[in-house]
Structure formats: structure tokens, C-alpha cells
């Protein structure tokens, strides 16, 4: 019985390592892309020669887009 439990735990451990780790690194890579795009969006907004109200609206769009991107719906 003990051997069966130990074996099951070992299998679960290796499965989690081999299946979940690539996913988490992919998620991290995705988060990095989202943050990079968010920074690009904010810099473009600040460097646009639109007025302060429009720049603020643009920055709000950047924030909404990064949220969607991190949740996996879209890219910024």
C-alpha cells in the first residue's frame, strides 16, 4: 500500500514538473510580452502630441489592454 502511494506521488510529482513547468515559463514569457507592450503603449501615449485629456484616455486604454493581455484574451 505504502509503495502504491509513494509511486502515485512520484508519478504526480514528475507529471507536474514536466507538464506544468513549461506552461509556467510560457505564462511568464507571455506576461513579459504583455508588460513590454504595455510600456510601449504608455510611452507612445506620453509622446503623442494629443492634449492631456486624450493622453489620459489613451493611458486608460493601455491599462485595460494589459489586463486583458495578462488574462490571456489578447495582446496590448
Amino acid at each position: 500500500m505504502k509503495r502504491a502511494i509513494a509511486g502515485t506521488l512520484a508519478v504526480m510529482f514528475f507529471l507536474s514538473v514536466f507538464l506544468c513547468f513549461p506552461q509556467s515559463s510560457a505564462a511568464r514569457a507571455r506576461a513579459d510580452i504583455c508588460v513590454d507592450d504595455w510600456e510601449a503603449c504608455r510611452t507612445r501615449a506620453l509622446e503623442s502630441d494629443e492634449g492631456f485629456i486624450r493622453t489620459t484616455l489613451w493611458l486608460t486604454v493601455c491599462d485595460l489592454a494589459v489586463g486583458k493581455c495578462l488574462l490571456g484574451f489578447t495582446r496590448v
Binding site: D36, R44, L46, G51, R54, T55, T60
Partner: protein, 330 residues
């Protein structure tokens, strides 16, 4: 009757002088700048896409073009000379560059998209560079080994440092000036938008973008040397922006762009647009060492970026074209 009139006149004169003396305020002179035709105009029709930073040097006017990922160099008469840089991640390549400076024979670029500072020669030849753990927004090279980077704060995890100084190998030397943090990322970013400009003597000025009249003067060691309060005669306008939760917050922008020539700070005053917004203006205020608004310079057109040298003003108009102006008479 004559004596009384004379006494009143003398009293008024003393009152005016007294006020000027006590408050340090005087009416700024009003100057008009006229446009100067650029040399070699047809041939210099090189296009600027999103010019974000201008630096004047003996070699000419260096313009950083964020969308074209390059630096375009013009003569002081406005003729296009050459350009360097292209999109990429390699040496001498840029991705969304946002800041530019020149020190001696070297050009410094805040390569924002690649999160690095690149050091090049004036022809664009790569010399060295280093990665930075932040989003570099602007760069100032006070000496060859004192490179000040103004960061764009993420404003998500509390207050962050805005100024980071590195040597030419990328070793962090000091950090200074905490960012404003209220938890509203958009409002905070507008509040934290600042300008850094080189001042004489290896010093620099940190100019607030909004809600503050205090210009900080600092040295290469990150020491605050003094604070210059821009005097009350300088117009600070209000604009209501939509903040978190849809509520309105008031922002008082100080300037749209700024430049330094000698000991005079030039602030481009934001102008009210037809739809009630505040955008790039056509009036530049000259601010003296004590914060006194010595002159207002009217330009013939609205500009978004400026560089000043003597009586010449280099400006980028709203169609991203380089324009040259000369300050004329009152």
C-alpha cells in the same frame, strides 16, 4: 491739488516697486519670434515620424525619432545632414528609443524597448552600452561616467525612484527622487511625467510636468542643490481628467516641453484647444535662475518640442516638421 496728485503718483510708484521687490515678481517682457527659412529646404525634406527629443551640439541639432528608430542630424540652419540607427536589438539598433543626450564626442540613447542605454559616436558607431532594470524614458550624460536615467515608473507597486545614475559600464551609482503614488496608475503617470535638462557646471534641472512649480537643481552626485519656484506670474492652467472609477481629478500642467540655454530655463506653456483640452502651445516662458518669469516669447505656430540657443528656437510643429524661429523685438 498738484501736491496731492504728485504724492499719489509717488505712492503708487513705491507700491509697485515694493511689490516687485517683496514678491520677486515683475511683468514679463513680451517678445515675438519670427520663422527663419531653413537652409536647403527642398533637399532637407527628410520626414520626421515621431520626434521625441532634441539635443543641440556643435555638430548640429540631433533629433531622436521614436517611430523611425533613428537619430536624424540637422545643421543649425535646419538642413538635413545625416541619420543613424534602425529598428533592432543589435548594437546601434533601437526599439522605441525615447531619450537622447550628447556629452563630448559621445551620443547617449535611452533605448526604451530594449531596456538599455547605448553609447555611440556622433556618426552612430556603437561604442558600448548596458542593460537597465527599468523602462528608461530620458537620459542625461553629465560626465562620461555619470549617466542619469529618468525612468517611467510602473506606478503599481508603491513609490519608485525616478532618477537612476550609472557609470559607463552600467554600475548603479545612486538613485533619487521618489515618484508620486496614489494608486491611480493613469493619474500617477501624468503626475510623474518629468523633464530633465542639463544645466551649466555639470548640473541638471528636474522639471515637473504637472501640479508643481518647483524645479529641482541637482548635481552629478545626486545631491539636491536648490529648488527654484517658478513665480506666480507664470500661468498654471487646470484640466479635469478622468481618473479611476470615472471620477474627475484636476491636473495643473506646468509645461509641455522645456529647454535650457545658459542659466535660462524655457518652458513651453500648454494651450487650450478647441475641444477644451490642453495641448502643445505657441508661447514659451523664459525663467531665470531665481524662478522669475523674465519673458514670454510668442511663436507663429504651435510646437511640441523645443531647443533653444541664443536667439534661435528650434521647434517641432504639430505635423512633426522641424521649424526654426528667431526671437525678434517686443
Amino acid at each position: 491739488m498738484k501736491k496731492i496728485r504728485m504724492l499719489i503718483l509717488i505712492w503708487l510708484a513705491f507700491a509697485y516697486c515694493g511689490q516687485t521687490f517683496l514678491t520677486g515678481q515683475s511683468t514679463p517682457a513680451r517678445w515675438t519670434a519670427r520663422e527663419t527659412e531653413r537652409a536647403n529646404e527642398p533637399a532637407s525634406a527628410v520626414e520626421l515620424y515621431r520626434p521625441v527629443d532634441l539635443v543641440l551640439d556643435e555638430a548640429g541639432l540631433f533629433v531622436l525619432d521614436m517611430d523611425d528608430n533613428n537619430v536624424k542630424v540637422f545643421s543649425r540652419e535646419g538642413a538635413f545632414l545625416y541619420m543613424f540607427g534602425r529598428k533592432g536589438q543589435g548594437p546601434g539598433e533601437f526599439h522605441r528609443p525615447s531619450g537622447l543626450d550628447i556629452q563630448g564626442k559621445h551620443v547617449y540613447v535611452a533605448d526604451a524597448g530594449n531596456r538599455r542605454i547605448q553609447i555611440l559616436d556622433k556618426r552612430g558607431g556603437y561604442l558600448t552600452g548596458f542593460k537597465v532594470p527599468l523602462s528608461p524614458y530620458r537620459v542625461l550624460a553629465l560626465k562620461e561616467d555619470r549617466i542619469v536615467v529618468l525612468a517611467l515608473p510602473s506606478v503599481r507597486s508603491g513609490s519608485e525612484k525616478l532618477l537612476h545614475c550609472y557609470d559607463s559600464r552600467g554600475e548603479l551609482l545612486w538613485e533619487a527622487v521618489d515618484s508620486f503614488h496614489s494608486g491611480d496608475s493613469v493619474y500617477d503617470l501624468m503626475r510623474n511625467r518629468m523633464f530633465i535638462r542639463k544645466a551649466p557646471g555639470g548640473e541638471f534641472c528636474l522639471v515637473p510636468g504637472a501640479d508643481d512649480r518647483i524645479v529641482r537643481r541637482m548635481n552629478a552626485a545626486g545631491v539636491l542643490l536648490g529648488e527654484i519656484k517658478v513665480d506666480e506670474s507664470y500661468p498654471l492652467q487646470e484640466i479635469a481628467i478622468t481618473a479611476r472609477g470615472g471620477r474627475k481629478r484636476t491636473l495643473r500642467p506646468l509645461c509641455w516641453s522645456c529647454a535650457i540655454d545658459g542659466e535660462t530655463l524655457y518652458l513651453l506653456i500648454p494651450e487650450r484647444t478647441e475641444d477644451g483640452d490642453l495641448g502643445p502651445g505657441r508661447t514659451i516662458a523664459a525663467i531665470g535662475r531665481r524662478g522669475d518669469n523674465t519673458a514670454l516669447i510668442d511663436l507663429p505656430t504651435n510646437v511640441s518640442r523645443i531647443a533653444v540657443e541664443g536667439s534661435t528656437i528650434f521647434g517641432i510643429d504639430l505635423d512633426s516638421r522641424l521649424r526654426l524661429f528667431t526671437t525678434g523685438s517686443k
